[in-house]
């Protein structure tokens, strides 16, 4: 448990470090070390010289939702494979066969996804 205490406290320290870095310009602005002169052109979104048209929070075809679906399935496999991998050293061949069958089932679905063209960028 002590180790997780270290992790939690280190998390707090890292957050403090990041927040310190982010808020440093606010203090420097108070002491007039860095300028603060906002203007509509300066605070518009960059569009490489053109005037900004519309927002970018639009419906965007990310084109890889099939990859993402396969990724979810295989991520689940990782969660189950790691405990198997830890114990493999002390176990005999039957344990190995069990894991191999589990991976083979997932491999079948992976090959199915490949044959169906889900892993093809369209």
């Amino acid at each position: 448990m002590q180790d997780y205490g270290y992790i939690a406290l280190f998390l707090l320290m890292s957050i403090a470090f990041a927040v310190f870095m982010l808020t440093l310009p606010l203090f420097l602005r108070k002491f007039r070390i860095i300028p603060h002169k906002p203007s509509p052109v300066k605070s518009s979104t960059v569009e490489c010289g053109l005037e900004t048209t519309g927002r970018s929070w639009v419906q965007f075809n990310s084109r890889y939702y099939l990859f993402a679906l396969v990724a979810v399935a295989l991520d689940m496999m990782l969660v189950f494979i790691l405990p198997w991998a830890i114990n493999l050293r002390e176990m005999d061949w039957r344990f190995f066969i069990g894991g191999a069958i589990f991976i083979a089932i997932l491999l079948v679905s992976y090959i199915y996804a490949w044959r169906k063209g889900a892993l093809q960028w369209k």
């Binding site: 310009p25 906002p38 605070s43 491999l107």
Partner: protein, 361 residues
């Protein structure tokens, strides 16, 4: 000589926390400064330029000069941006990269927390950093950043799986997920025992930390500056810092998992760790100076059709050896593994080339 320190040194919980946390943060920061300098000088040399050489001897103080310059820049938040996310995203991206350092053994005993689920912890935390970069991409309300952010998630979902599968090979060989146990098991570095796993892990790490062949998130020549186009001042500095501390952490992970971390003769452990880490980063720079950037479909094809089957195969041969030939002599297993890896990589590359021709036709 024995340079190790006891795992509960110096005996007090709070004292240990403060000393090691300061060492870790200082280690990351000084490595980042050295990496920035090294990257600019080495890439300049590769492209037969000089690189920064005015500030300090060999331009060593260039990073400090840049820091002071960027600290005095105006802090601009675009009117269209999501204010809360715009402020929070650099911190969300930066904190997890630092958190990974907490489980890496810099020296025998110099490790903040020796978690018994270390590998799982690393796999989980490294994904959070990608979410920070994704948020910084969409918070700015910029079209270039949007594309960069979408690509970041594409890289994340593609390369996470081969990375963790390559690590599962190590977990099989050690019988533990704790990083100190993994380093302890490396009297022979794992790069020799699991060369295929090393290649997969190296490529996956390159993609996870967005270094060049896979720097699609930033892609200067097509996306202006990618996810951090809208950022300026200290927030940009934090994103830049994130990028380089990811490079530090990535090199440190490769060192810890495959190069034997602090193990080495005569010199103290932390020095060995630093030397190996810089050697890995040198290799990454060499790749950056040599290879062109991949397209996003090529990079995802490499992950899904190349690395994933190879990492499955790696897992298979490693588990096969552990179960059926647990006491294989080193002089057999090392050449056998290297030969098998080379053959399978060549065969799979030939298969992938065929597959591409048939799918294009």
């Amino acid at each position: 000589m024995d340079w190790s320190i006891s795992p509960d040194w110096p005996g007090n919980f709070w004292l240990r926390l403060i000393i090691i946390a300061v060492i870790l943060i200082a280690f990351v920061m000084s490595s980042v400064i050295m990496f920035i300098w090294m990257e600019r000088r080495v890439i300049a040399r590769i492209q037969s330029r000089l690189g920064p050489n005015r500030a300090g001897p060999f331009g060593l103080l260039q990073a400090f000069a840049d820091t002071i310059k960027i600290l005095t820049k105006e802090d601009i938040v675009p009117t269209l941006a999501d204010k809360v996310l715009f402020w929070a995203a650099p911190a969300i991206a930066f904190v997890p990269t630092l958190m990974i350092m907490a489980v890496i053994p810099l020296m025998n005993g110099l490790q903040l927390a020796d978690l018994n689920v270390g590998v799982l912890y690393i796999a989980a935390i490294s994904a959070v950093s990608a979410i920070g970069i994704f948020l910084s991409g969409i918070a700015g309300n910029n079209k270039y950043s949007l594309v960069g952010a979408i690509r970041e998630i594409a890289q994340l979902i593609s390369f996470e799986i081969p990375m963790v599968l390559a690590l599962a090979g190590l977990v099989i060989a050690c019988g533990s997920m704790s990083l100190s146990k993994i380093v302890e098991a490396q009297s022979i570095p794992f790069i020799l025992l699991q060369p295929l796993g090393f290649v997969i892990f190296m490529v996956a790490i390159l993609a996870e930390i967005n270094r060049t062949p896979f720097d699609l998130v930033e892609a200067d020549s097509e996306l202006t500056c990618g996810f951090n186009t809208e950022y300026s001042g200290m927030k940009f500095a934090l994103l830049y810092l994130t990028e380089y501390s990811e490079a530090v952490v990535g090199s440190a992970l490769i060192t810890a998992f495959f190069l034997g971390a602090w193990r080495g003769p005569i010199l103290p452990g932390i020095l060995w760790f630093t030397i190996k880490m810089f050697a890995v980063f040198m290799f990454i720079l060499w790749l950056r100076g040599t290879l062109p950037r991949l397209r996003i479909d090529q990079s995802m094809r490499l992950a899904w059709k190349g690395l994933l089957p190879l990492s499955m195969f790696n897992l298979f041969i490693v588990s096969l050896q552990t179960v059926f030939f647990p006491d294989l002599a080193l002089w057999i297993s090392i050449p056998a593994y290297i030969i098998i890896s080379v053959i399978i990589i060549i065969l799979w590359a030939m298969f992938m080339r065929k597959e591409r021709q048939s799918s294009n036709a």
